[in-house]
Structure formats: structure tokens, C-alpha cells
């Protein structure tokens, strides 16, 4: 495992260059190499969605993408999304509806919900549930999350 790959990419608008092991997945890269601890490793096999981040405009599982493959990529994490203000209304709705309990799924859930806001502004409750069905939340009954997303979509219309 001594081989390393040098990558230069944009993370939350900042250019970073790092030398990574080929086996390093994106969520470990973000957490361990860049200190961006908002993305969480929940299952590391692409089921739970806690590591959801945006790469080149599309949401991906941070645990299923190797950092070595991201030379030149544009990555946005929950930290960058928050700083940009893009989903401030969605985050406020999460707070108002108590759509987060332990919060471990929440950054991934917000990333996935932001994707609905960008690409599916007409989504109804069933479509919201379907779009978020790759993000596991053990605490809420999902209903408050669906409420928060639906309320944000409604307010933006």
C-alpha cells in the first residue's frame, strides 16, 4: 500500500492538492485528509447515504468513490453547501420541523434533499420519499424530513 496518487481538485470552492493511497475513498479523504467531518461513514458499502456529497454537480456516495479518481473534480460537501447559503431555507425548515434527531444522517439527507430542490422542484411527498429512499434515518419516522423538504419546495414555488 505504499503507492500513492497525487490529485488536485476543488473542494467547496477551494483548490486542494494531496497525495492519497489508491484505496482511500472519498469520505475518508474528506474526513481524514481535509478535516471535513460533516460527511459521515455509516456503512461504507453504499447503502445508508450518510456520506452523500456532490461531485461535479451530481450527488454520489462518498464511500463508493475513490479519491484517486477525482483529479480535476469539483466536490461540494455539507460544509460548502451550508456556507454557500444555497439551502439555508431547507436547513431552517429542518430546524423548525425537528427533522433531525441524532443528526448523523442529516448532512447526507440535506445533500440528497438539495438535489431534489435543484432537479425536481415539482416533487410531491411520494416523490420526495422515493428520492430520499437511499438515505437511512433510524431516529425520525422520515415524516418530519419529508415535511421539511415539501415545505421548502412549496415556499420556493
Amino acid at each position: 500500500m505504499s503507492m500513492r496518487v497525487e490529485i488536485t481538485l476543488t473542494v467547496n470552492g477551494e483548490r486542494v492538492t494531496r497525495s492519497v493511497e489508491p484505496r482511500r475513498h472519498l469520505v475518508d479523504f474528506l474526513r481524514l485528509d481535509l478535516g471535513l467531518t460533516g460527511s459521515h461513514a455509516g456503512c461504507e458499502h453504499g447503502v445508508c447515504g450518510a456520506c452523500t456529497v456532490r461531485v461535479d454537480g451530481e450527488i454520489v456516495r462518498g464511500c463508493l468513490v475513490l479519491a484517486a479518481s477525482l483529479d480535476g473534480a469539483d466536490v461540494t460537501t455539507i460544509e460548502g453547501l451550508s456556507d454557500s447559503g444555497e439551502v439555508a431555507d431547507l436547513q431552517a425548515a429542518f430546524v423548525a420541523r425537528n427533522a433531525a434527531q441524532c443528526g448523523f444522517c442529516t448532512p447526507g439527507m440535506v445533500m440528497a434533499a438539495a438535489d431534489i430542490l435543484r432537479h425536481h422542484p415539482e416533487a410531491d411527498r411520494a416523490a420526495i420519499r422515493e428520492h430520499l429512499s437511499g438515505n437511512y434515518c433510524r431516529c425520525t419516522g422520515y415524516q418530519a424530513i419529508v415535511d421539511a423538504v415539501a415545505q421548502t419546495l412549496e415556499a420556493r414555488r
Binding site: 458499502h45 447503502v47 425537528n98 433510524r138 431516529c139
Partner: protein
Amino acid sequence: MSDLPTPESIGLSREDLPNSYIGRSVPRPNVPKLVQGLATYTDDVLLPRMVHAAFLRSPHAHARIAGVDARATSQVPGVLRVFTGADVAKVCDPWVATLDHLKGMKSAPQYALPLERATWQGEPVVAVIAESRAAAEDGVAALNVAFEPLPAQLDMETALAPGAVLIHPELGDNLAFTRTAEKGDVAAAIATAHKVVEATFVTARHTGVTLEPRSILADYNRAEGTLTVHHSTQAPHMMQGVFAKQLRMEEGQVRVICKDVGGSFGIKVHVYPDEVAVAAIAKVMGRPVKFIADRFESFVSDIHARDHRLKGRIAVDAEGKILGFDIDDLTGIGPYSVYPRTSAVEGNQVVNLCGGPYDFANYRCTTTVVLQNKTPTCQYRAVGHPIATAVTEGLVDLAAEALGMDPIEIRRRNLIRDEAYPFTSPAGMRFEGLSHHKALDTLLEMVPVARIRADQAEQRKKGVHRGLGFASFIELTNPSPFMYGIGGARISAQDGATVRMDPDGSVVVLSGVTEQGQGTEGILRQIVAHGVGVPVERVRVITGDTQTTPYGGGTWACRGAGIGGEAALQSAIALKQQILAVAGAMLQAAPESLDIRMGQVVDKGSGRERMPLGELGRIVYYRGDTLPKDLPRELVQTRHFITKDYPFAFTNGIQASWVEVDAETGMVTLLEHWCVEDCGRVVNPLLVDEQVRGGIVQGLGGALYEHCVYDDQGNLLTTTMADYLVPMSAEMPDMHIGHVETPTRESLLGAKGAGEAGTAGAPAALMNAINDALRPLGARVTEQPFTPARILRALGRI
């Protein structure tokens, strides 16, 4: 000041008063950081010189450990050290998980890492310490451990049979615990009943699947002789005691810090051997050691639960009056009872809770708790409740069917009357005040039963099979020392809160209860703001640090609001009185004539503002010379609370489930779900509602999807989230929550627990709904999870 406060005098549940926060849906202060990814979970904590642990886990259900060859591991880049069971045992004592009040209970000593035998597949056997987790895993892969497989005892049904493999020969057999509760004459009731129906129920082995895995970062400081443990736990003070005892330290030398916790559900209130090993290794190495379980490790080493088989009978008279229940419960708990709460409690709860909502005379329930070579089981959200509720409510529905009676009607005829309290159940549980009939009435206002039944009949004609099911339940909350303390466990049933006012007039509360997402800190903030008389924004909450918070039990068994909340309320009221004493001296007014509203000292009668708290703080902290010499001015108060009159504060509720069953595929679609629950005083409806919904989903998941499946060699087959299915948003229905409030009179606040109600009742309501759908097809399911295969088998399709 001499008048004792009452719920009325302090304005509980009155929203027309200023700073009246109890009963209001105030957003939680924790959520902004959660939605921005700025929380601090244990894995987010980094310390200088930190190293990482990975474990080699037993690949066998039962095996002798013949030898550990770590030569290749020591050559792996980044690997620092390898620890075997014998290495760890030099600094760490084993534990035995029994409780004195569970008569006859037995278990064997459990070491952090086993010395001679591995007793379940996934048991941690050897620890590798390295500069990174990845390097530690490389080191594990290079280990050569000689296992000699032994015959394994897997099936709980044969655990006590002649010829069974003895998990611990020194115990004599595999029986960990048995208890029978008996009241009245069950045999006579059954002999003389109009109808007796019986069935066998199976509740599947589950696990919690907290999204944040178990996490620990232990740091030993040789100069100070102190161990600081950053831990994802529900019970920091309990763990402080455990680490001290097992590592031969004084409790005062151990500090447990618990920042944000990514879900717990009972999973994180137990002592795990790998975590204790990490603390021991930190002590040996004198540097911080981190261990974060990966998902595979979580499935094989987090506690499992609910692996029960129950044979039940119910006897009813011709009017549908329940004459008695006769229930035989069998459960397998793995090779060790889990420390310190023990693995006998779930079975014991089944004995305590069966038949719980009903008024009947004759009861017999036996639990038999046996050892086996599978992952240890222990307390998991709603301990025993979903099991007892499934057998009770399943039998009640079968009785109704046998009588040709409506399921609502049989419940109405048998639920304990709302006027009957205090009431002692046949199992010996004492109920201070429940509201089964009011809850049922409230539910029927929410569930459009007539419309649903009409729809059901209409859909039947088209070959669409829908069903409506009900489940009443009781829930045990606010446990007293009768739960663990009397059995000898150092688990605190009391809890404390310290409330102080700082110079700027802001208020800080330090509490022994903990936050894992339930909203503990949110409700403490509301309670203290209400009690002192300040805006919620002026209250900060500190939990999860044994060095700074008052000693307490933490958050489990639905005690956060009821116990921790009451301690906070009492200390807030005491602080208010102290502030008013100082204000009286400053304003030359009788303290009784003053009040605090929204951070201002006011005339109680007129509400006229006299002084902001910031000004009072300025004088007390910086110009104490201007106050009368003998005036007490400690703007800090601590109160502790423990329940005294009842061993437990029971709550109650009822759920309804409306489902569609596809008779061709066996798939169940959840259409709608309702729950009415009575947790006493509701501090924050927004929090309670979504917590109940989360509990319902956890119950529905267990009843439909979740199952720890083993092969015949004792290998766990469901070790990824693609194999162990959990409920996701697309499959879950919208849920309607209603409340009845019967405050407990044991406390001023009157709050009981709410966190487990959803999980307690949902599986039974769902089972009854599925069976309501299947009834015309002559099929019935009683074995969870209700998978398509089981439903198709019940229908005779496969």
C-alpha cells in the same frame, strides 16, 4: 416563598404566560449544527499521538484459540503493537453480568478479549494497534490465529436438552435465568372458559443499526494517572464506574466525555468487550487509542435482541371478557449475559408486561432464558414491550375472531377502566394512572374506521386485500432502583441538575441525563427557561461529561424528561428563589412580591419591570461590596430527583395500522398508521410526535424486514445493510399522532417517557392488520418478520 410550587402555580402547559415553554413546540437548539454538519461525534475528535485499533474477530461460532502468531503483523507498515486476551487481562479484570434480584440467574466471567475460547462468530479476539485504522486492518489481515472449531449450540429450543453443547461447562447447563409469574388459577380459567385460543409467536432477532457505529477514544495520561474516554454512550457515569472497576482505578481517575451521539436505542448503554479492551490498551500504551466499529463489526458485535418464541393461550367467556393468559416464553441470549444490565431483563419484561393493558384475573407467564453461540443480546429500544404486546394483542384478536366480535369491542370490554387506578396488574406491576379508554376514544376520533371498513369491503371485490389492526400497550418509563440498583448494579436511578446564572443574566444547566437525538437538551432548556423565567435563547445546556455534570444515570428506559427534567425544574425553581432573594435586597422589596419574566425582575402583581437579570448579575459578581454583608448570593443551585412511590411510571397508548397485502407476491404495503399515547405532561409536542413516529418506524422495520439470520454453523449471514434490511422513507407511511396527558403525581413536571411507545405497539398493530387482510383467505402469520415468503407460505402459495 414558603408555598411549595404546584403545576398550576408555575403555569405548566399554559401558553399565555411569558416564558411559558413547557408544552410548546420550541425548536431544539442542537439542530442547526446537525443540518450544517458541524456536530462533534466521537470519531470527529482528534488527539495528539492518537493511534487506532482494529480487531481480529472469531470466524467461528465456537472455537478453541490454540495460538496467536503475530510475526507477520509486526512487519506491516504502521502497525505498532498486538494485544491478545492474555495481554489485556494483565491490566483488565473480567466481569460477570448477573443481578441479585433476578433469582437464580447465572453467567460466566467475560474477558475483554477471550483467553481460551471464542464463543460467537464476531467476538473480538486479538487487537492490532496502528498509526491508522487502515494500517490496523492490514495488521489484522496478517495475523495468524489458530482456531480449533468446537461444536456450537445455536438453537435455543435444544439449549437445555440432554446432549446440548455446554457453552460454559462450569455453569452446569445453558440456563441463564427462568422466572414464572402466576396469579389466580389459569388452569381453572382455561377449563371453564367459553373459548380458549392459542398460537405460537416468534419475534425475530434484531439489532439496533445506529447510524453512528459504536465509537470510543480512550486516552490515558501517565503523569496524572487519569483515563479520559470520549465515548458514544447513553450512560457516561455508569461507564466511568465500569472503566474504573475493570481497570483497577478509582472512579475519580476516570472521566467520560460524550459529545454528540449518532443514535443509541439501547445499543450504547452496554459494556462491550472491544471498547473495554481499547481503554485497557490506552492505559498500557499511555496514549490515545481510537476504535470506531465498522458496519460489519456492528452487525456481529452490537447487542442483538428480541430472539423470542412464545406459546400463548387466552381464555375468554361468552361476553368476550378475558379470563386469563397462559404464556410460555423462550429466548436465546448468546454466550454471555451482557454487563451490567444483564440479558435476562428482556425475558423478565415479557413476564411483567403480557396482558398489561387488560383487567383479568388469571395469569401465568414463564420466561426461559438460555445461552447459545450467537451474538449476545441485551436491552434494545422498548425492551420486551414489542414482544409482550405482539403475543397479548395477537391473542386478543384471535379471541375476538373466535367469538365473532369486533376487535375494538373486545378491547373496550377488557381494557382497565380509566377510573380503576391505582391498579396492580396480575403480573404485579403497579399503575399510578393510565388512560386506555380515553386513548381508544381519541384513536377512534382519528381513524376513520367506517370509511376504512367500507373501502376494505369494496377492495375485496376487486381481489385487493386490505386490513386494519389495533394494538393497545403499556410502557415502562422513569425506572426506580427496582430496575437495576437493587440487583447490585452501579446504575443510577436518580439524576441531578445544576442550574446557574452567569454575570450577563444568562443561565447554564448541567445535567446528568444525556442527548442522543431525543431532544434531551432541548427540553432541559425549555424547562429551565420556564422555571427561572428567562427566554429559551438565554439558556445553555451541558450534558455528557462526568467531570462537570451532576451524577446521574444518563438517558435510557425513557427517563430523560421524567427524571432529568424534574431535577432541572426543581433546580431552576430554587435558582429563581435565590435570584429573587438577591433582587429583594437590591430593590428593597419583599422577594415574594417579585417575579422573573423573560429575563427581567418584575413586580409580581403589576408585571412592571424592575431590573434586568444582567444588572443583578453585574452587582453580584463585580460589586458584591454593595450588597448586605450576610446576603446569600450563590446564583447556582443543584437538585437531584428520584421517583419514590412507584417502581416505574407506566404509560399507555394504542396504535392502528392500515395495510394492503398482495396475495400474489406476499408484499405488504403500509398505507397509514395512527398512535395515541399518554406520556404524562408533554414538554414539547414537536419532539414527542416525531420521536413516537421514529419509534413506530423502528417497530415496523422489525416486524417487516429486520432479521439477524444465522446459518447452521452459527455464521451471521446478514452483515451488511443490503442483507439486514431497515425501513427507508419510501416504504414508510404517514403517521398520525395523538395524545392523552395523565401527568404522574410523583413529580412537579409530571412527565413520563415517550421514546419507546411507538416501538412497543407497532409490530402488534401491523401483525393484526396483516391478519385482518389475510383472514378471508384463511391465512395467518405470527412469525416476524412478516416477509413475502412467510405470507405466501401462510397462503399456501409456496
